[in-house]
């Protein structure tokens, strides 16, 4: 059984007087430990699919199961609880809370769990260490570079030891060198910790770090190309 199963997944929303359908009858399976890249032009539905899988949006119709749990009919509060335990989200623009330090940003998801302070501290320290930003733990986001902010965001995403990690254009706002460093980090998470990663990207070079790439267009999967050879990686970034 796949970790993530989508069957006839559809999402419709209204923008003013217009009805927009970013996803139509999508079927998808993702295995545990997979590193999947979703590519496609703007408006193809890749971010929408990511949002549905990560539980921050609800499908209009169809079925979506993650680790055996059906998400499509869940209430908002139950989805929130589920996300807290099972999902780590990495945004393109990092979305760190500006008035919290790096340490406090990473600690934020742990506040949702009943955990002794010491244990919280240990997990935050470990996450910051893993992403290589421990020395900046008491800096505010405005004192960090883009690459450093994204590292903090990654630490925040992994600190709860989630079932899946989703990343929406994680290198979209970074320079080449920082982008490469972030992709190496994500690849390491996938291979060394066996985390399931789903990443949306425009950049084929970034997609080449993934084990599998899927293309979407107008809300549907158009091909299922398995880019398993990491040949392009070194030259592309």
């Amino acid at each position: 059984m796949s970790l993530i199963e989508c069957r006839a997944l559809t999402k419709v929303y209204r923008k003013g007087s217009q009805q927009i359908t970013p996803l139509r009858d999508l079927d998808l399976d993702v295995d545990a430990g997979d590193f999947l890249a979703l590519m496609g032009p703007s408006g193809s539905g890749k971010t929408t699919l990511l949002n549905l899988i990560s539980g921050i949006d609800r499908p209009t119709s169809g079925s979506l199961r993650v680790d055996g749990v059906e998400l499509s009919g869940m209430s908002r509060s139950r989805l929130a609880d589920w996300r807290a335990r099972h999902v780590g989200y990495i945004f393109q623009l990092y979305h760190l809370v500006p008035v919290l330090t790096a340490y406090e940003n990473v600690e934020l998801p742990l506040l949702l769990q009943r955990m002794p302070r010491r244990e919280r501290h240990n997990r935050v320290a470990a996450a910051l260490d893993l992403v290589g930003i421990a020395d900046r733990h008491n800096h505010f986001p405005r004192q960090l570079s883009g690459g450093q902010e994204q590292r903090v965001a990654i630490a925040r995403a992994i600190v709860t030891d989630p079932t899946i990690i989703v990343a929406d254009e994680p290198t979209g706002d970074l320079d080449r060198e920082s982008a490469r460093a972030v992709m190496e980090l994500l690849r390491g998470l996938s291979t060394e910790t066996g985390k399931t990663l789903i990443m949306v990207t425009h950049d084929p070079a970034c997609a080449s770090f993934a084990r599998r790439t899927l293309h979407l267009d107008k809300g549907r999967l158009v091909e299922s190309a398995a880019a398993r050879t990491p040949v392009l990686r070194e030259e592309a970034l």
Binding site: N51, I56, D57, R76, D81, R83, H95, L111, L112
Partner: protein
């Protein structure tokens, strides 16, 4: 309620958004300062005018007179008043005041006999000088603490007002609000100094009754005794007497109640405005929190918590300011020679502070509800 582990987060949001928080707290502090100052004035009026069942003092005044200068009663009335059943003590008093109208700076002299001083001094404490010094000089004055501070007087100083020149023999502190703002001088001295009043005439009599529950009865009996005399009397319990004289002031104070409500509304509006702006700027941040797993109810409580904290901190500054102003300002409203002392009551200060917190809670509710109802994906799309 908000779990304790999220309280540091609320503090950080408030303290680290320095400018916004400072402006909001400054605004709340300003209006709550005014609110608490108004409460304090209302307290002063209430203390001076509300009768309690223990009140046992009557004021015998000239009927149809309202200014001390125009009330003249023969001093010989004392014996007849003392003979009325239920009367324990009668103190004739001459009052000279520099202005009958309502104001903040009035000097009132009360002329009393040396032998009556003990009865009056039961409520006093001499904080400077001595009562013996008063007994030794005919032009000596025992000055109430509030009046002394207002005029910068100490024992040994000379001062004059309304054509009366005295030397300060002592400064007194009294539990009776009226005593705090007057100067007690010798009755004969005042009768001779004061205009047109001769020895043998006084402004009023202060009468102590044996049984406070019979105070109205005794008042009626006194008025009945003199109803056919050339100088008829009007006798009332002391606080009622002050209330009648201070009606103008009480009306003004009644109006200030509306002002106080306005201040409260302004505080709610200030905090609500700040929270709305803050929430609008943090749409994405709240969406991220929801992404991390923060429930919408928790986010709403965080917003209300921030709102409550902002208002409480601003209210604290306002409360401290109001307390300092009233404590060190030595304000006292006087009308027709009667005094309404304005001094801080901790209960009112605390009440005002808590009310500011409540205003913050109310202010945060609507924006919190709105923020918590937003769909996460819609938030990311919107920004």
């Amino acid at each position: 309620m908000l779990d304790a582990r999220f309280i540091p987060l609320v503090f950080k949001q408030v303290i680290r958004h320095r400018t916004r928080s400072a402006l909001t707290m400054g605004g709340v502090a300003t209006v709550m300062f005014l609110f608490i100052a108004i409460q304090t004035i209302q307290d002063g009026v209430r203390r001076a005018t509300e009768r309690s069942s223990r009140d046992a003092t009557l004021i015998v005044f000239r009927e149809n007179r309202y200014c001390p200068a125009t009330s003249r009663l023969p001093q010989r009335y004392e014996e007849r008043i003392a003979g009325i059943p239920g009367v324990v003590d009668v103190i004739p008093m001459q009052i000279v005041v520099n202005n009958c109208r309502a104001s903040l700076d009035v000097v009132t002299f009360r002329g009393v006999r040396p032998r009556d001083l003990d009865a009056l001094a039961a409520h006093w404490e001499c904080v400077e000088g001595s009562m013996d010094a008063w007994l030794k000089r005919s032009d000596a004055a025992l000055v109430g603490e509030v009046l002394a501070r207002r005029r910068g007087l100490s024992a040994g100083d000379a001062f004059d007002s309304s054509g009366v020149s005295v030397v300060v023999a002592g400064i007194i502190r009294s539990t009776q609000p009226q005593d705090q703002n007057v100067a007690y001088v010798h009755l004969e001295f005042l009768q001779r100094s004061a205009l047109r009043a001769g020895v043998g005439e006084v402004t009023q009599f202060e009468v102590r009754v044996e049984d406070p529950s019979r105070i109205e009865e005794v008042a009626k009996a006194i008025d009945a005794e003199f109803s056919t005399d050339v100088e008829p009397t009007a006798t009332r319990p002391e606080k009622e007497f002050v209330a009648r004289a201070a009606r103008d002031v009480m009306e003004m104070v009644g109006f200030t109640r509306w002002l106080a409500l306005g201040c409260l509304a302004a505080a709610v509006a200030l905090v609500a405005n700040s929270v709305v702006l803050s929430v609008r700027d943090r749409v994405r941040e709240h969406a991220v929190l929801q992404t991390l797993g923060f429930r919408s109810g928790l986010i709403a409580r965080l917003i209300v918590g921030e709102s409550f904290l902002l208002a409480l901190m601003g209210g604290a500054v306002g409360a401290v300011g109001a307390f300092a102003l009233v404590q060190f300002g030595n304000f006292s409203l006087s009308v027709e020679g009667l005094s309404i002392g304005i001094r801080p009551e901790l209960r009112s200060i605390l009440f005002g502070w808590l009310v500011s917190g409540a205003a913050g809670l109310i202010a945060g509710l609507a924006p919190a509800l709105r923020a918590s109802r937003r769909e996460i994906a819609a938030c990311f799309r919107a920004v």
